[in-house]
Amino acid sequence: MTTTPRVLEIRQKVLSKNDELARSLRARFHGHGLFTLNFVSGPGTGKTRFLEETLRRLVARGLRPVALVGDLATDNDAQRLMRSGVPVKQITTAGRCHLEAEMIAGHLEGWDLDAVDILFIENVGNMICPTDFRLGAEKRIVIISSTEGDDVVNKHPMMFRGSTIGVINKVDLAPFVGANLDRMERDMRRYNPEMQIFRTNMKTGEGIEELLGAILA
């Protein structure tokens, strides 16, 4: 018995299911008047510190933020952020290097989204994998820091392509590690000419108000 091979032409995105789910999440967020941010960065750039600082300031302004934080294995970040008094849930990805829309949908249960103004999604600390997976967020923020070296942007161009806001953190440490902040900023613009870029020092609070202004704009 011989079989005839048949070819079926298809034009469909491989991640269309995730994209669809992300779109429906976005519609759901809009329906609740909820503003959502997805922020991405490598490990150790100050993501969690940024969240701590931001949540504190937003609460002081009378806003109601919540946060979902992704991590491969631990709930250290959620524990840290819980101290701010803001509702926080940990998404443990069990080894997966990025968040997917399905994981977001699964972790919204139990939250009254009408009583929330801003949802922060802290992606897994990884500069490569999260780029392909949309989560339904309004804006994506990429955070880098001077201590990663000033060629970090060139090594991960895709992370910058899809982000609306770029942050260079730990600016105070640049002289000690020989990082050229102008070069980092120039590289970011090269991959994303429209990106808004901020230099911060999350420890002292330098640049955070300007950054918050852009986030909330």
Binding site: Q12, V14, P157, R190, Y191, E194
Partner: protein, 119 residues
């Protein structure tokens, strides 16, 4: 290693698109842009794992790689930039208007047609 998630998404997408009665897929064609953030070798490796126990088991993954193309608004032309810097190689203008290179698409499925075989 998000390539495993991508391979799994690809396999489930193919299974959804298969005509009823098809039990064996022989090849899958996909289009992969240079900016898709996917390592081809890793994807091929994961494809073998993700297809196990499915009608796609043993099938070939054929990948067409697509370079980045940007549209330069100064020249009003589509250009292939050097590397991943989005700069027109002719006039040097930066452009974020990407016309090709983000593809991560399923293009076609080749399968054994059970009806043709029994006819």
């Amino acid at each position: 290693m998000h390539e495993l998630s991508i391979a799994q998404s690809l396999v489930s997408l193919v299974q959804q698109q298969l005509p009823p009665g098809v039990t064996r897929v022989t090849a899958v064609d996909m289009r992969l842009g240079a900016m898709a953030g996917v390592v081809r070798g890793a994807l091929e490796f994961c494809y073998g794992i993700a297809t196990e126990g499915t009608p796609l088991q043993g099938s070939t993954l054929r990948v067409v790689e697509l370079p980045v193309v940007i549209h330069c608004h100064t020249c009003d032309a589509d250009r292939a930039p050097d590397g991943l810097a989005f700069r027109c190689p002719v006039c040097g203008t930066l452009s974020g208007d990407i016309r090709q290179g983000r593809e991560l698409d399923l293009a076609a499925i080749e399968y054994d047609d059970p009806e043709a075989a029994s006819a």
